[in-house]
Amino acid sequence: MSLDKNLLSKLAVGDKHGEDSPYFDGWKAYDNNPFHPEHNPQGVIQMGLAENQLCSDLIKDWIKANPHASICTAEGIDGFSDIAVFQDYHGLKQFRQAIAAFMERARGGRVRFEEERVVMSGGATGANETLMFCLADRGDAFLVPTPYYAAFDRDLSWRTGVRIIPVECNSSNNFQVTKQALESAYLNAQETGIKIKGLILANPSNPLGTSLGRETLQTLMDFINDKQIHLVCDEIYAATVFAEPGFISVAEMIQEMDHVNRDLIHIVYSLSKDMGLPGFRVGVVYSYNDAVVTCARRMSSFGLVSSQTQSFLAAMLSDQSFVDNFLKEVSKRVAKRHLIFTEGLKEMGVSCLRSNAGLFVLMDLRQMLRDQTFESEMALWRIIIDKVKINISPGSSFHCSEPGWFRVCFANMDEDTLQTALQRMKSFVLRHRENKKKRKSFQENLKLSFSSKMYDEHVRSPRLLSPHSPLVRT
């Protein structure tokens, strides 16, 4: 007989870890039956994971040419003991400098980052949580425009007790956040006695794949400055921007908007997406607020970057020609994948939200929904996982206010697999369209009204809608 759950904290027994979300169901389906071109060509293709596998060759080449960067090689072993004992939460100076330089180059050299403001964290996951701990008390809230990265629910709230107040955006203006939506969300919160401490968003956006234009950024900064609340910009996808309007960082806006209180501005960064190194857990908190830098740095003790990793990256990222070439290639390769995928979808009559960044697109399957409800979205999603065998992420898991949108990742596989996925989508979409036509003509001819239960069964197995299906006779 085991201990009753009361012996753990409320935090531990709650579900704010977020893993009961459907976001993870698809992963489970994938884990149980993962696609492999030779060993399991019928398996589930993972398109729910925003990973960047496009540029690892560039990094591997650099490593082979620079054995001194590793503390385990004959060339680098002399540095081993100094690195191994280094646990100063300021981080290795060369590392901070290299990160600051990398961040600058990812913004086309249009901004300067001070290495003393670079604070480490356990990935962007750790960085976002740390900032919440620094900026808000338990029960306070942060505004977050929807749709947003599913794991924000856990990262911002779980251990901090900070609440998320969604700011609804919709497709009428390509999900751009408006002053109206911000003001309205802020007012509603105030009226219910909730204290808003700031606004947090990802730019470029996950799952939209869009970067903010200058005007929107101005709106955001004026809004937070007016309310004197914080602005946290998660710029984790900065280097994946491949088209207009290019990447405009909040760091650039600060230079232009002198009147905005800099103590309110904080940037989150990481190498997990731009460089495809999620395993190395390199998160950065960059704040313009000295007190936040000090506090976040103290908190970084709970999530420092391994000194081995700091040392390696310090060497690689201070190689300017490598960095410049790398950044150029990331953008180029992401653009190419984006084009292949969106064109492929276009050919089958499926459109996506117009995007210029990120490792994914937001696919518009609203036409394929039985009705514009989230139940229908989930039903469609289940078919795509179970029958089409592609794991994609339903918009509801990103708190999208409109059903029918799905995030599909395209940078975590090779081109052949991407084509296979497109093929499967094509067959599915065409079949679905066929069945829809047949269903429509059935309805017109027979004037039958199906109970919603039977309808669900039809949506699940379109094959049953052939004229010979026993179900039709009832």
Binding site: M1, S2, S9, R281
Partner: protein, 447 residues
Amino acid sequence: MGLPLMMERSSNNNVVELSRVAVSDTHGEDSPYFAGWKAYDENPYDESHNPSGVIQMGLAENQVSFDLLESYLEKKNPEGSMWGSKGAPGFRENALFQDYHGLKSFRQAMASFMQQIRGGKASFDPDRIVLTAGATAANELLTFILADPNDALLVPTPYYPGFDRDLRWRTGVRIVPIHCDSSNHFQITPEALEQAYQTARDENIRVRGVLITNPSNPLGATVQKKVLEDLLDFCVRKNIHLISDEIYSGSVFHASEFTSVAEIVENIDDVSVKERVHIVYSLSKDLGLPGFRVGTIYSYNDNVVRTARRMSSFTLVSSQTQHMLASMLSDEEFTEKYIRINRERLRRRYETIVEGLKKAGIECLKGNAGLFCWMNLGFLLDKETKEGELELWDVILKELKLNISPGSSCHCSEYGWFRVCFANMSEKTLDIALKRIHEFMDRRSGF
């Protein structure tokens, strides 16, 4: 005459509030534990360049066995072999690996290493190992999982000063001390346990567990088996958890003198007893690799393992580091040799410093583990108070240029005790430190 301050504030100078957590001083950095570090940073001892600088004896680092690690890595080159010509796919997989279960090979290596340290007297299941970025993160994480804000953990004094931050800062959990004293070598007694528990209850504070460090920091001594058994009984009776931070388990001078709580649990079938036991470990002390941020939680409670694993998302171990260490720690021939030689070198250091201090007329607590000794300077105090102790500490820092840690920063209830680290310097530097102490004692007795 200037303008009143508030009129001088420009519109950009609105003072913006940070959280209560941010403005509190529970980060603990104002403690004298850290003041000495600053003095060291400003004037660090160096054999050739600064022989009269401050010798750092306040940092519990293990630098005595690096050569063993370096020669292993140079020979076997686990990182290079992964990223060399034939290991090309290895790099990408590793760089992408952010699964919070951790690299299986690394978990297996950790389990086997922990088993070896305990002489095989306890076995560890790799699936119960949760990885965190250092024991710092592991202790905080366990606190988040086992206690709610304003609850308490009971911790025997004297204890590691970092606990004040790690267990309390962001969690909002309190520490209620279990007072121990020199009358019985600072061992935990059942009376002290009950008293601490009662103190908490009297203030309406809910106790969720007991957290011990075994071997102890700062005492440098292992916890006796009987005491562990009593502790576990106590936790069962009060229906609370037992956390054992065994970060120094590989630094016990004689393996036979260490009993891990894992050994006690090994012989228990009752799940409701086992499930309250959790062990914290790290490679920062035994292997001297604090920079790599390798900590672990080992729990006999499935819920805790699952939750800790999820929570470790905020503090995962670099996959690059996991990979490098996996091959090293699963080389049993290497680890057996390392553990043996490391113990031996630490023992010799300990004997050197204790004997050196004895010659200077200073006694230490009888220790058998760790990277430090627990020195008694009570007889030198002008006043047996915290102030008296800090005055003496300041003298030692300014006159002897030695940074050591005052017992009060470890919440010791007796004044005059100091923790002195000996494993983070060369033998020569240790000699110089002892010489300075000798001379100081000579001066004091008027020679």
